[in-house]
């Protein structure tokens, strides 16, 4: 069995890649992808810990996996809304550069 710290290290790596992606990419699509990456890093951590706790008998089996399924479902719905907004912005401005979307300020 792969030890839990390996999963956690992967999860931290994914989260770092995701957050660097959010901060550096200017295309809204790529920012969106990076956010998904961060989300899934969290999911991975939850699943890894759930497996460890259920193996040592502290948690009932599959409780973490159930939570991750709910998160995936909500994330799918959120992606649908987010992509809808992106398409709408693209139709208006022929660009999805997030730096250009800075009108909402003083």
């Amino acid at each position: 069995m792969v030890p839990t710290p390996y999963y956690i290290a992967l999860s931290a790596l994914l989260l770092t890649i995701g957050s660097v992606g959010v901060l550096t990419r200017r295309s809204a699509i790529m920012v969106f992808l990076s956010v998904e990456l961060m989300l899934n890093a969290a999911n991975l951590a939850i699943v890894a810990f759930a497996r460890q706790w259920s193996a040592s008998g502290i948690e009932p089996a599959l409780s973490g996996q159930a939570a991750v399924f709910i998160i995936l479902a909500i994330a799918a719905a959120e992606v649908a809304v987010g992509l809808g907004i992106l398409v709408s912005i693209f139709r208006h401005r022929v660009s999805t550069d997030v730096d250009e979307l800075s009108e909402v300020r003083l």
Binding site: S19, L23, V31, D99, S102, V104, R105
Partner: protein, 640 residues
């Protein structure tokens, strides 16, 4: 017969209607129309006054017209009502008659002025207020007219309000008059406390039953005198009138010479019964009048403004009237109001004609010889000058002579310096003749000092201005014959006014003394004119030029320093307080509020720097926050 007299009560209303028409619709009326409407309103008032004058013939009593009850307070019931008797009708004739001529003259004088309709609205409003003043049957209603003329005077002095000095002069007149109004109000309070009524006729009827010379009556008299000194520009409140010349010249003629400034004289004549019972107050009145007449005549010598000389001359002449009513010679005071209205209005209107021709120039040092270019103006000005000087057979001679003999023989002034008042006024008569000679000679005769440019435009005024001059000139000659000395001739105006005014005892002079007094006053006029002739014609002004830097000339120029004194006593302290408050307001309140505002603004600018609008910057801030939270949690071990 009474019906005809009662119609006169409409006169103020007509003037008011004229004023309202010009005020609300004047701007859309084509030029001469506002003047014509205003003139018609006054003309109608004049016709009503003439009808009332004939209606009152043969009846000693006036006609009381009660309009409505306008005040009920406790036991006090006050009706707004007019008292149309011989005294008030005489004043109405002066106001509407002279007023009409000045309205007509103004049509020419104010041609092309931006505020043409505003001018006539204010002029008509003045006539309405002045009529209310003289016709009122109670003190409060009289006070309404009293304040009304004050407001109109203020409005018209500052008529050309774009030049800062003019509204300042208006304010000065208004504030100085306010001081006099306090006297009028105190007098009304005391009158009500003493007599229990504010009806003028009732007060006059009750006064003879009071204690002769009592302190209360004297105090009432002194307070009414304070009111009169404000409106009539007498010591110590005379300072506003010379500045009031900032207004258009016809205004100076109507308000500040012929009518409004005589309100104080009328007030004292109206309540003559009170003064007849208070010799102390009456002699104070006479002294104030005589001193004012003397001081103003002195101040008139060094003035160089064509209208300022006339302003001081007005103060001086009103001083004569006040001295007359102080002496108890009430009809004489009103008689001088009548003659003065003619020749002083004429003097001002000729001055206006000159200013008009000179394109606004008012300095007599830049005039001279104008009589040769402006025949009608010059001739009528000469008549007015001779009339005010008191040259025999012109109007001023008869009224001034009556004042002089009135002060000398008055029983009210006996023992209170009546003879000193007489001598003071006699000297003033000579001074009047001298300074008026200077005025006339400096403008209309002698060598021309007009500069080339003004000389080319010099012209006689249009007929609408010269006709009133002619009529007033005729009046300046003939109205004097209404009041021929009674010891030798029938005196029409005395017989006419005596039933409406209080009778005061006058000492009978020894036979022949009458003629001696007349001779003395003629001598004084001759001296005055002779000295003027010698100084300004024979010596070409050399004796005066030698005096130029002396204290005497300085005192005359500054009118004995009353303005400077009041500036130190009253204006300076007020300015000090206002300056302190302004400093407090500017340096503490304003600066504090501005500082607080600036601090909030700075804070706001700092906060806006965070809100860049870049989504990625926000994300970075969130990340930093989360990292910080995690570090804190890990170091403190909260999660364990």
């Amino acid at each position: 017969m009474n019906d005809v007299v009662q119609w006169a009560a409409l006169a103020p209303l007509l003037a008011l209607v004229g004023s309202l028409i010009n005020a609300f619709f004047g701007r859309s009326l084509k030029e001469p129309l506002p003047g014509i409407i205003a003139s018609l309103a006054v003309a109608a008032g004049f016709v009503l006054a003439v009808l009332a004058f004939f209606g009152l013939q043969g009846s000693d009593h006036g006609v009381q017209v009660t309009l409505w009850r306008y005040l009920t307070a406790g036991t006090l019931h006050l009706d707004a009502g007019f008292m149309i008797d011989r005294l008030s009708v005489t004043m109405m004739l002066i106001i509407t008659g002279v007023g009409l001529l000045i309205h007509i003259y103004s049509i020419g004088y104010m041609r092309g002025d931006d505020g043409n309709s505003r001018y006539f609205a204010e002029l008509n409003l003045f006539v309405a207020a002045m009529l209310v003043l003289v016709m009122a049957d109670s003190f409060p209603l009289m006070f309404i007219g009293w304040e009304g003329v004050g407001v109109c005077s203020y409005l018209l002095i500052g008529f050309w309000y774009r030049d800062r000095a003019n509204p300042d002069a208006g304010r000065k007149a208004f504030i100085v008059n306010r001081v006099g109004d306090v006297g009028f109000l105190l007098a009304m309070f005391l009158t009500f406390k003493t007599f229990g009524t504010l009806n003028i006729a009732a007060v006059n009827a009750a006064a003879p039953a009071m204690l002769y010379g009592s302190a209360t009556l004297t105090l009432i008299g002194l307070f009414y005198l304070l009111g009169a000194t404000g409106k009539s520009a007498q010591l110590p409140l005379q300072v506003w009138l010379p500045d009031a010349m900032a207004g258009p010249t016809p205004v100076s003629a109507l308000i500040h010479a012929a009518t409004m400034v005589t309100a104080g004289v009328y007030l004292i004549a109206r309540i003559g019964a009170v003064y007849a019972m208070a010799p102390g107050a009456a002699s104070t009145v006479a002294w104030v009048g005589a001193l004012t007449a003397f001081i103003a005549a002195f101040a008139a010598f060094a003035q160089t403004d064509i209208k300022k000389i006339l302003a001081y001359s007005t103060i001086s002449q009103v001083g004569y009237m006040i001295a007359a009513v102080g002496a108890g010679a009430y009809w004489v005071g009103i008689f001088h109001v009548l003659t003065h209205a003619f020749f002083k209005a004429l003097l001002f209107l000729t001055a206006g004609s000159v200013i008009h021709a000179m394109g606004g120039e008012q300095d007599i040092r830049k005039m001279g010889g104008l009589g040769r270019r402006m025949k009608i103006t010059g001739t009528t000005a000469l008549i007015a000058t001779l009339a005010i000087s008191g040259v025999p057979f012109l109007a001023g001679f008869f009224s001034k002579d009556a004042i002089l003999s009135g002060t000398l023989t008055s029983g009210l002034l006996a023992g209170n310096g009546g003879d000193v008042v007489y001598i003071l006024l006699l000297i003033t008569a000579a001074m009047t003749a001298a300074y008026m000679f200077r005025w006339y000679y400096g403008i209309f005769a002698g060598a021309s000092r007009v500069d080339k440019h003004a000389s080319e435009h010099l012209h006689e005024s249009p007929p609408v201005m010269t006709w009133p001059l002619g009529i007033l000139a005729v009046g300046s000659i003939v109205v004097g014959y209404l009041g021929l000395p009674e010891f030798a001739f029938p005196n029409l105006i005395q017989r006419w006014l005596e039933p409406a005014t209080q009778a005061v005892d006058f000492n009978q002079l020894a036979a022949g003394t009458d003629w001696l007094l007349v001779g003395l006053s003629i001598l004084m006029v001759a001296i005055g004119l002779g000295v003027g002739w010698w100084i300004y014609h024979v010596r070409k002004g050399a004796p005066v030029a030698a005096l130029k830097e002396s204290n005497l000339a300085g005192a005359s120029r500054g009118a004995l320093g009353f303005d400077a004194l009041y500036r130190i006593l009253f204006v300076a302290s007020g300015e000090g307080i206002a300056g302190g408050v302004a400093t407090l307001d500017r340096d503490v309140v304003d600066r504090g509020l501005a500082g607080g505002g600036a601090a909030v603004g700075l804070l706001g600018r700092l906060a806006t720097a965070l809100q860049s609008g870049f989504a990625r910057a926000y994300a970075f801030a969130m990340l930093l926050g989360v990292v910080a939270l995690v570090v804190v949690a890990a170091l403190t071990g909260v999660l364990k």
